[in-house]
């Protein structure tokens, strides 16, 4: 066991954990933020996506010890204008069905728009390829990203 220091959503946390513990379980079990989901444990589905210094990362395969000194953002901590536009578009278009993957989808989409405010369909394909939605809400995910981009440009 070791003491892991993390900065999550702007708050400093110190957690006693096995050094190999994935960030996902520290966020969920120790810090108590449950919006980040467990889907596959092998970085295949994207349900666990968080931001590390603004870049999307799969928290299920990221050791918590590897994020020391970096800013972790979860769905609960989204603040940027792009992120808010994404969440609003998601609600406006009723993208969600079961909703379980959507924290991860929104994290990937927000990171995309922060770096590329007017993404093409190809850009969206590329940025969102790591996020599975078994309800297949992909038509609306694409539409919502375009809508959020439009709002940011307005």
């Amino acid at each position: 066991m070791t003491t892991v220091s993390l900065n999550v959503n702007g708050h400093a946390h110190k957690v006693e954990a096995d050094p190999e513990t994935p960030l996902l379980w520290v966020i969920r079990d120790d810090i108590g933020l449950t919006g980040t989901k467990f889907g596959c444990g092998v970085a295949q589905c994207g349900a666990c996506t968080v931001h590390l210094d603004g870049q999307p990362a799969r928290s299920c395969v990221t050791p918590a010890t590897a994020v020391a000194g970096r800013k972790v953002t979860t769905i609960e901590g989204l603040q940027s204008r792009a992120a808010k536009a994404v969440q609003k578009a998601w609600v406006d278009l009723d993208v969600v069905q079961c909703g379980y993957c959507q924290s991860g989808q929104i994290m990937s989409a927000a990171a995309l728009l922060e770096q590329n405010p007017r993404p093409s369909d190809q850009d969206i394909d590329h940025a969102m390829a790591g996020n599975i939605c078994r309800c297949a809400t992909y038509v609306r995910i694409r539409a919502a990203i375009h809508q959020a981009a439009g709002q940011l440009a307005a």
């Binding site: 096995d18 108590g32 989901k37 889907g39 596959c40 444990g41 078994r134 297949a136």
Partner: protein, 758 residues
């Protein structure tokens, strides 16, 4: 149509004729009972913790669903088990169905709110406790969600609940204002009278509670609907919480002192545990217990990761001999052989009406189809929280069939039903997985709680691998079809053998559903089908295997639609006819099917010129009372397929929430396309070879076609939309591939045929 749904629709029509609507809701107060109330409150870290309230004389609704405290506490007026109005003017609607993404929370609330003339922004929803008396699915007679029945079975019941509440509010206002009830208007949760009197529902709630419920509440005519069928009127009630991370699923429940368990499940089907060595597992920091349970060996720990690490360190010896012979390829060979043998008849050729023999077949078209086992793979792996305390059991999970889960949880805990309380949370998908006659994950969690003697609440977490390896698959199926065409290109004979496990045999549903040896879910879609095929000679074989079969979004239609609709194209080609015209000739007794097919074909521009390598394919299928037709446009490039566009027409009767219907069609299309491309659980020596999304691939955003959905206008009673969007997609795509010059694919998934990147 599904036999259960058929019976239900007949009953529903009869009920409507008798105007016995009041019988669909139970007047309050509910049957006497004191329910322990559990209050969920925000924890310091933003997660949810559960604080325990005292014993309160309160109906069970306060503890249901997402556990919102406010509504029921302030419910001054609760005329029945489905709706209450608070002094704060909030209308709370109790959803008796399980929300797995289909949108029934929004749909059922729409039914009540429309009849109640409630302001949609003041509507809140909760999930019902396990109580089959109050919350049965009227199509099943027990509490459960499935068969795309949530809106269909609730349509009159929930509208009646709302109309009853409205009538009592109006009666209260009439009494208070001393005016005739007929002169009172209701809109957006406000009562008004021409005299200038005005009151919100909240202000009138206490007085309404003193009114007598109307014996015959009057329902609106379709022209009077204010929310139903109106685009934009009823945004999904679960969107905000699912877009900010606050929606609570099973894994998000936190109880004081709660432990987490994972189970070392058998590695192959039929395997038995011989022994286990927990020495190393117990040394993992955080592991508190390693205990044998009927499902395997449970490792219990203070954190999820510790439980997983403990399981990794655990040594279990299994006897895998019982399932050693289980092999998908061998099963397919056996099933193909069985298909040549006489089975149990599910369709017998009708004698020609005029006594003359049917026209002789001059050509035959035949094919053998093979379908793999399929896992549901909902995004949220299975799990359940179980807490034994004070001589009672509480569970938190995505209880899709509360009546089964309640019964089996009580049995596992050795408690009477009244000492077992289920808290149903939203699920991260199901596609059939969470509704099973064994209540597998609920029982497993209770078994762990019992094994640690109720020392702490315990959350059982399945990993993706646990979930995908657990069986409960869409069964492996083989169809063998031989169709004769006469000189005019008309169907003269149809021999059809179906081989595959029965889903309902051996379960509590067998008695209700299996008739004369036929499990209707094995053959639905072949018999009955959308088409008039009185010459069909159908034989069913239902072998047993040590792998539990289960319904998978659209059940038997997952394979029957593919067979029927690709056969239709093969037959049309053999007859030298257009696939649309060929089908239309067989649909003269199915005007709904013909209309949906024509609508999809018209909107897609059926027959238009397509670029080289591209083609359209169409398919029609009816299930759960809903008719769906789809036209797929595909492009073949370097032997690989891309689906560019799908045009979908759906006739589901009255469209309660048009946008939810569109969403279910879009999602059904993507779900079906992913399965068509990639999905297969392959068994070798009894072990499933695909255990996570790296092997069991799922559709991704770059493979999703554009989708256009058209809803057939209708005032008929609504039917379901959760499943019916799935079946037509695969045959429409297969037909398009064949028309584009690609192979005719009879073994799924497509990855086997090399037309998608495996």
């Amino acid at each position: 149509m599904h036999p259960l749904m058929q019976a239900f629709r007949e009953q529903q029509l009869a009920e409507r004729e008798e105007q016995a609507l009041a019988s669909l809701v139970a007047p309050r107060p509910a049957p006497a009972g004191v329910t322990r109330r559990t209050v969920l409150a925000s924890g310091a870290a933003g997660g949810l913790v559960v604080a325990i309230g005292g014993w309160l004389p309160q109906d069970a609704r306060a503890a249901a669903g997402q556990g919102k405290e406010g509504a029921a506490a302030k419910a001054a007026f609760a005329p029945n088990q489905f709706v209450s109005v608070g002094t704060d003017n909030i209308v709370t609607i109790v959803d008796k169905h399980h929300e797995m993404g289909q949108g029934n929370t929004t749909g059922l609330a729409t039914l009540v709110a429309d009849e109640l003339d409630a302001d949609w922004s003041l509507v809140r929803t909760e999930y019902a406790p396990a109580d089959a008396k109050l919350y049965a699915n009227l199509a099943f007679g027990l509490q459960g969600t499935g068969g795309s029945s949530a809106i269909a079975n609730s349509y009159l019941q929930y509208r009646t609940a709302g109309a009853t509440a409205r009538a009592m509010l109006v009666a209260a206002a009439a009494e208070a204002w001393k005016v005739p009830a007929e002169e009172i208007r209701t809109s957006n949760s406000v009562l008004t009278h021409a005299s200038g009197q005005r009151a919100t529902y909240g202000e009138m709630a206490a007085a309404a509670a003193k009114q007598k419920a109307p014996a015959s509440p009057v329902l609106k005519t379709p022209a009077q609907f204010s929310l139903m069928g109106r685009d934009g009127a009823t945004p999904r009630v679960d969107s905000p919480s699912k877009c900010n991370g606050s929606a609570m699923y099973t894994g998000d429940v936190k109880l004081p002192g709660m432990l987490t368990a994972v189970i070392a499940f058998p590695p192959s089907f039929g395997a038995k545990m011989v022994s286990f060595d927990a020495t190393a597992a117990r040394k993992v920091k955080g592991v508190t217990d390693v205990v044998a349970v009927p499902e395997g060996v449970a490792v219990v720990a203070k954190s999820t990761w510790a439980a997983m690490q403990g399981r990794r360190a655990l040594k279990v010896t299994w006897d895998e001999s019982p399932g050693a012979a289980l092999d998908s390829d061998a099963l397919l060979a056996q099933y193909r052989e069985l298909a040549t043998q006489p089975g149990t008849p599910f369709a017998k050729p009708a004698a020609a009406a005029d006594g003359k023999p049917a026209p002789a077949a001059t050509r035959t078209v035949e094919a053998i189809y093979e379908f793999p086992f399929l896992a549901h793979a909902p995004m949220e792996p299975q799990g359940c929280v179980a807490w034994l305390h004070d001589g009672q059991l509480e569970t938190w999970a995505g209880h899709q069939f509360p009546t089964f889960d309640h019964m089996f949880a009580a049995k596992a805990a050795g408690l009477p039903l009244e000492k077992v309380k289920l808290h149903t949370l939203v699920s991260g998908g199901s596609f059939g997985r969470r509704a099973n006659a064994w209540s597998d994950f609920t029982v497993a969690a209770v078994n762990v709680a019992v094994a640690i003697k109720g020392r702490a609440p315990v959350r059982l977490q399945y990993t993706r691998e646990d979930d995908m390896s657990a069986g409960l698959y869409r069964p492996l199926m083989v169809h063998s079809v031989k169709v004769g065409l006469d000189d005019a290109g008309k169907v003269a004979s149809w021999k059809h053998a179906v081989v595959g496990q029965s889903i309902v045999s051996g379960t509590m549903m067998e008695k209700m559903m299996v008739k004369e040896g036929i499990d209707p879910t094995s053959v639905e879609g072949v018999f009955p089908s959308s088409y008039a095929l009185p010459m069909m000679d159908g034989q069913l074989h239902s072998p047993s295997l040590p792998v539990r079969p289960l319904w998978w979004r659209s059940v038997g239609n997952t394979h029957t639609a593919y067979v029927m609709e690709t056969m239709m194209d093969k037959l049309a080609a053999a007859a030298g006819q257009d696939p649309l015209a060929f089908r239309m000739a067989l649909l003269d007794k199915n005007p709904r099917g013909a209309a949906a097919l024509k609508l999809a074909a018209d909107k897609a521009g059926w027959g238009k010129a397509m670029p080289a390598g591209s083609a359209q394919g169409l398919a029609l299928h009816e299930c759960f009372g809903t008719t769906v037709a789809q036209v797929a446009e595909v492009t073949l490039k370097d032997g690989k397929v891309r689906v560019d566009r799908v045009v979908c027409a759906v006739d589901c009767g009255t469209a309660v929430n048009p946008d939810v219907i569109r969403a279910q069609m879009e999602g059904g299309i993507g779900f079906a396309l992913g399965a068509l491309y990639y999905s297969e659980i392959e068994l070798k020596a009894g072990r499933p070879m695909q255990r996570n999304f790296d092997q069991y691939k799922s559709l991704r955003i770059y493979e999703m076609p554009a989708v256009e959905v058209f809803i057939v206008p209708s005032n008929a009673a609504p039917t379901g939309v959760g499943e019916p969007g799935v079946p037509p997609l695969a045959p429409a795509v297969a037909n398009a591939i064949a028309r584009a010059g690609g192979p005719a694919i009879v073994r799924l998934p497509f990855a086997r045929a090399g037309v998608v990147q495996a």
